[in-house]
Symmetry: C4
Subunit: 215 residues, 4 copies
């Protein structure tokens, strides 16, 4: 019933890479909670409340990392709706991306610990720096797959592919801006990181969505 | 063979969101065990036994959170049996719900640490407060999907949809009651949380189940 | 093409419960490694080696729990190859079983900490006691599903079903024996736990396997 | 439509073992981040930066273990593309392999802690020693499945099977070499471990890939 038996095997292979990647995204996003520490030894309710409220940088780091890994997952999935087959280069580049994603809980913990202190700028720079690297890995993965439509489905629309290439290439620049901002204002750097995740979640920013909505 | 080729793609998209969400639910429910701490430095068997028994608030918190995440998973699944397609709004609202679910191990740890102490009321209030927020996210997700049956399958029964809307809207109120109870009696607040999970697991409380049992 | 459209929906439901359960088994079995602690502050290589070797009870606990969760996963899967549909009772009883499985890393950590100490007997008793409870949950789940073949596939062989019922009913007794042995000899209790996992992994002990090998 | 109804059941069984194994690989690879510790109590930004940079052995251990578990996942998957059915022996041997994989975060933590210290050689030897054992388990699994093509798909090419057998048999020797190198130079031992993961990721080293690329 299938004209190209190889196409089914290709789809199975890309589905398996996607399923493994989904697992890594889901675990990394859920491990973020381990960066939140239960305050110990509070005698009274008001002490506990003050300690919990005083941990606001940790909650902010938790929410920002959650939103960022979440938007990465969405984009990874959107990318794979266009990728029709895999090869070893894609496996390796996807592995680099996942290496970055599994690393996120560490700079999140650093930022949660140091935001309100003198070392906060370094912490925020390390945090945004991690996202610069991940955004570069994202672009490498996409460029590799999309170059001359090497691994894309034949039905992939050229205009959509180019729009994605343009869209993704802005990512590293945005996070580099957040990295620079860290040395001016830790708060501004963090707000930019969170704003980026929210902005990229908006459908109007995503060419794939527009295409998806077309009949 | 498929009258609407878009329907198959829609089903694949909702299935993937559901699979990712299932992964997050499964990981969050399993991470709860990390809130249980091995007592250190007990010299004799009876000391160890006393220390283990003395940790009963931690076990109670573990079981209550397990039951609550479990019932959330069941309800999330039931909800998605009626949802026929997805869009970016649903992705974002589902992300908010998962943010709440991955957060649960933290207030569980707070409660496990502080139940038997003076700060127990604040801990129990934070715990129930988390569930108030998650229950609100649940309602947002459902309202968004069910409004004018925006994202529901066309076969979804209007009476069932309305019954779910009514049923879910009670959730935030119940958890708000548990939150208020925390300031009267920590034990009563906890028992209410556990009772809610058990109550919602009963089939007679769930319109979706009744529908599912109809031929 | 399907004579019974409900059968496909039933199969999808049981598949989803199985997938969620598989996720919980996989996470619980992987979290066991967190019970192994890196020795701190060893000055010389021989100190580190001695500290690592001195942690043998932790490795033994790790391997025993890994083997036990592994055999539970296999048995859970075998059980679900016979279960053809689900209901809320099955969901709740399966949830109880998973509650037990996610709990395992805690008594494993207790045993790893206390085996070579005076409190080792209590630790080993708590460890085996956990398995007694899980084995009871296993039997409840199976009895519920198999009673008058309530939820079994119509093709399920009555002799196989009875053999499983007999086989599972021995589980709680075996673990109760290990619990009792803990007060005589911690080592004997542990060896029995490990031996049980290995014994149940042998194909000749499992009626489902024999059936599976029949043409 | 299926000539051999048993083949479909066999494929379902092997798919489920593969899915469970994938889950364990994904969790183990993501738990590695817990070996990275947030430096505590740094007063100034430059102290934090120095502390983060000073943790380079931990990052090296993280990346090496990530790459090694990643390449194991790829090889496990490639192996299962040739395995057509399962039995209890395969389940047990696959369980042994997963036991090794879930253990990896522990020697990774030991190495991260001790590389720059006097005990670094023992740490690096334990690390490579873990991979020797896992590589042996890999060979056992493959020999068991491939012996007289016991569990392989009938379509599996004999030349490909023999090439894999040869390729895998080198694994334990390579890691044993890294183990020995640890006593000469910790750095050389680590670099060899990382180099092995990268080398095995290259498509030209993998007979299965060549076969996969054939039309």
């Amino acid at each position: 019933m299938n004209a190209a038996p190889g196409a089914a095997a290709d789809a199975k292979e890309t589905a398996r890479i996607e399923a493994f990647s989904d697992g890594v995204f889901a675990i990394a996003i859920t491990l973020l909670v381990l960066d939140l520490k239960v305050p110990r030894g509070m005698a009274e309710g008001r002490d506990l409340l003050a300690a919990l409220v005083g941990q606001w940088p940790a909650y902010l780091a938790f929410v920002t990392s959650f939103a960022t890994i979440g938007i990465m997952w969405i984009n990874h999935h959107r990318m794979f709706t266009l990728i029709g087959r895999t090869d070893d280069g894609l496996l390796v580049l996807n592995g680099l991306l996942l290496l970055g994603v599994t690393f996120v809980p560490f700079p999140t913990g650093v930022m949660a610990e140091y935001i309100p202190r003198a070392a906060g700028r370094v912490a925020a720079a390390v945090y945004s720096g991690t996202y610069v690297v991940i955004a570069v890995f994202f672009n490498l993965l996409w460029w590799y797959a999309a170059h001359y439509k090497r691994l894309l489905m034949s039905a992939a629309d050229r205009a959509v592919v180019q729009a994605i290439t343009r869209g993704y290439s802005i990512g590293p620049l945005c996070y580099a801006l957040a990295l620079g901002l860290a040395f001016v204002s830790v708060a501004a750097s963090l707000v930019l990181n969170l704003a980026l995740a929210i902005f990229w979640a908006l459908p109007s920013q995503n060419p794939l969505v527009k295409k998806g909505e077309a009949p």
